[in-house]
Each structure stands twice: as C-alpha cells, then as structure tokens.
Symmetry: C2
Subunit: 199 residues, 2 copies
DNA sequence: CTAATTTTCGACTATTAATTCGATAAATAT
DNA sequence: ATATTTATCGAATTAATAGTCGAAAATTAG
C-alpha cells in the first residue's frame, strides 16, 4: 500500500516517456492530426496504457505545455531575482530562454506557437506564459524609463523582438549556445544603447 | 448547352457566398474544428450543395486562401511597378497591405496565420505568398544597399517587421485607414532614415 | 508461496463528421 | 409543353479515432 519512492519515480519516468513521444507526434502531425494510436507507438506503450497515465488526449497536451512553461519559468526566476539594470537583466533573460530552447529543441517552438491553435480557457500553463511576457514588458518599460533603451513604444519593441528572437533561436540552424554577444548584437540592431553610442 | 454569362456569374456568386460562410466558421472553430454542416448553415445552403460547388472541405479552404493571396498580390503589383526608391516603395507596399486587411477584416489575419496549421505541399497560393515575401525582402536589401536604410540584417528586419506590422494592422482596434504617416512612424521606431536624421 | 496491487494491452464501442446517394425542384432550351 | 440541364438537399454511408473493457502479466507484500 505504501507506494515506494522508486515506484513513484518510475511512474514519473513513464509519464515523461509518453509526453516525449506525444510531442514528436504533435509536431509531426499537428495537434488535431495526432492520434492516440500513433502516440502510443511513438512512446512504446499500448494505447490503453496511455489512458492509465493520462485522462485524455487533451490531458497529454496540457501536461506537455505545463511542464514546458514551468521549466522555463523556474530557470528564469533566479535571473530575474538578481538586481541588475533592466538592460542587463533583459539580456540575461533572453539568453536563458535561448539556453532552454537549445536544451530541448522542438519543445520551445511548440510552446510558443501552440496557443494559436488551442482554446485557451483555464489552461494552467497560461499563467506562466503571462508571467514571462509581463516580466519582459516590464523590463522594457523600466529600461526606457531609466534611459537605458531609447524612447520607443515598449509594446512595439515587444512584438518586434518576438519575431527576431524566434528567428534567432528556433529557425536558426545553429548548434552553439547563444551568448550575450549575440543578444547584444541582435538588440543593437533594433535599439542602440544610448549610454554607449552617444556618438 | 451554352452556359450564359449570367449563369456563370451567379454560380461564382454562390461560390463566394460559400467561401465567406466558410471563413466565418474556420475563424470561429479553427480549421479542424469547422464542420461542413456548420459551413452549410452559415452560408445558407444544404450540406450536399457545398459538394456541388467544391470537391471537398480542403478544397474550400484552398479556395479561400488562393483567392485571398491572389487579391493581395494583384493590388500590390502596380505599387511595385512604379519605379520609386526602395524606401518609398516599401512604405507603399505596407500601406497597400494594410488597406487590404481593412477592407476584408478577418480574412487577412487568417491568411497570415493559417500556414502554421496546414500541410503546405503544392498549395497553389503558396506561390503568391512567397512572391510577396521575396519582394519585401528585396526592397529591404535594396534599401540597405542604397543607404536608405541603415545597415541592419534584412532578414532580421523582415522578422521584426512581421511582428510589428501584424500588431498594427490586425490586433489593433483601429477603424481608420493606415496612413503613410503611421507606417513611417512605425518604421522609424525600428530603423531611422539616415538621409533625414543625420543629427 | 499466495494474495494483493500495479501495469500492460488488443479488441471493442461510440461518436463524430466527411462524403455520397437518390430524389426532386427550378430554370433553360427546343 | 416537353425534354434537358442545372441546382438543391436530407438521409444514408463510411471512415477515422477517442476512449473503454476485461483479461492477463508483472511486480510487490505478507
């Protein structure tokens, strides 16, 4: 009756294995195109076993998303905690995200694109996503206020950055980690640091 | 046996009516979520009649997309034809797209987002989409070469612009047409015209 | 070792929705 | 006015697939 620690851990492993197979299939066929049969194959279990671990297909998807966002958020927390300048923090946040993206390739592109396809009502991962977005927007605003960024509309910056960053991290065929130099360069193409390039 | 002109036109009308109902439903429920029954209702025909005019659900979707991209492209051709400076042409192209987007609200957001959801193999509309993208990229490159844009990576610019522009045109609650002032302003937030703001 | 429990799974069921059928009506032609 | 062509549609068919069932194998407990 007393579930042993090992038992619990193995259970967790199996869940992760299913999630990983599911991600593959979701990415290949799209969310609606993915079938439980194929997910079962991809993860090496029988279909019925999926339902032993997860309530439904939707539940599987939600688990992938929640887990993904949670891990991003956790890796970001310390960076956000450090009391550096908005610009410095901002750059570190981007680097951290890039790091995440490169550790688990595929997952993050999925994470950032899936909201367009899913009914987002009471999705538990939505909270973490929103937190991340509001932190970034906050940093932009603070940076503008403190004069570290030139006076552009933070909302516009945010959107432009989205396109740029996704391009850099996801589409890129690069293997090497994204360095702060990369991010600085990218950033300088959009907004020159007024404290440096006073010219 | 000789289909009268009017007959052909009425037929065309009916097809458009179906397409318009279908777009509504696609937008509301997503592509996979949309049912032919609902499309039939929305467009005021019986379900079987849809199949009299279109081969399949996919065919309906393709027709929407092809028609949309074709119309964008046609409206853009003259603007591209005029031999103005890259920067001027670039701005005019953006304005034209914005115009299109406002004339048929809903369609264009759909047009620009749907590729993420659809298997894009031999899609006839893909060609027009690619043409548009390559024109824009070309203008950016020419602008950089001629010194009208500062020397940023055109690929990055392109992506950043995507985010920005979509924000301005689609998300915005604005009713008024997008003017060249708007586009200039937007543009200047990203890239200052070196021929003006030499400071 | 035997009983309980956890895990696994292929076959079955139920549902949903795309597509087709067959009949009928409306319009057009002769 | 009759025949032919064009248009319409609800009902039936079919296909796909999410989710369930009941049995059995593996593991753990006493």
């Amino acid at each position: 009756m007393p579930q042993s620690q090992r038992q619990l851990e193995e259970r967790q492993m199996r869940k992760e294995r299913i999630l990983s197979g599911a991600l593959q299939v979701f990415k290949k066929n799209g969310i609606d195109g993915a079938t439980m049969d194929e997910i079962a194959n991809a993860s090496g279990f029988g279909k019925a076993t999926l339902y032993y671990y997860f309530k439904s297909k939707e539940d599987v998807l939600t688990a992938i998303l929640l887990d993904g966002w949670l891990k991003i958020w956790e890796s970001l927390e310390p960076v956000i905690g450090e009391q550096k300048s908005p610009r410095k923090t901002f750059i570190n946040v981007l680097i951290k995200i890039a790091e995440n993206a490169q550790n688990r390739p595929g997952l993050f592109e999925f994470l950032f694109n899936v909201p367009k396809v899913v009914k987002i009502e009471n999705q538990p991962w939505k909270e973490y996503q929103e937190r991340l977005y509001s932190v970034i927007k906050g940093l932009l605003e603070d940076g503008v206020k403190s004069g570290e960024f030139p006076n552009v509309n933070p909302n516009h910056m945010f959107k432009a950055l989205g396109g740029l960053f996704m391009g850099l991290v996801f589409m890129g065929d690069r293997e090497e980690p994204v360095t702060d130099k990369d991010v600085e360069k990218l950033l300088n193409q959009l907004i020159t640091d007024p404290t440096i390039s006073k010219k």
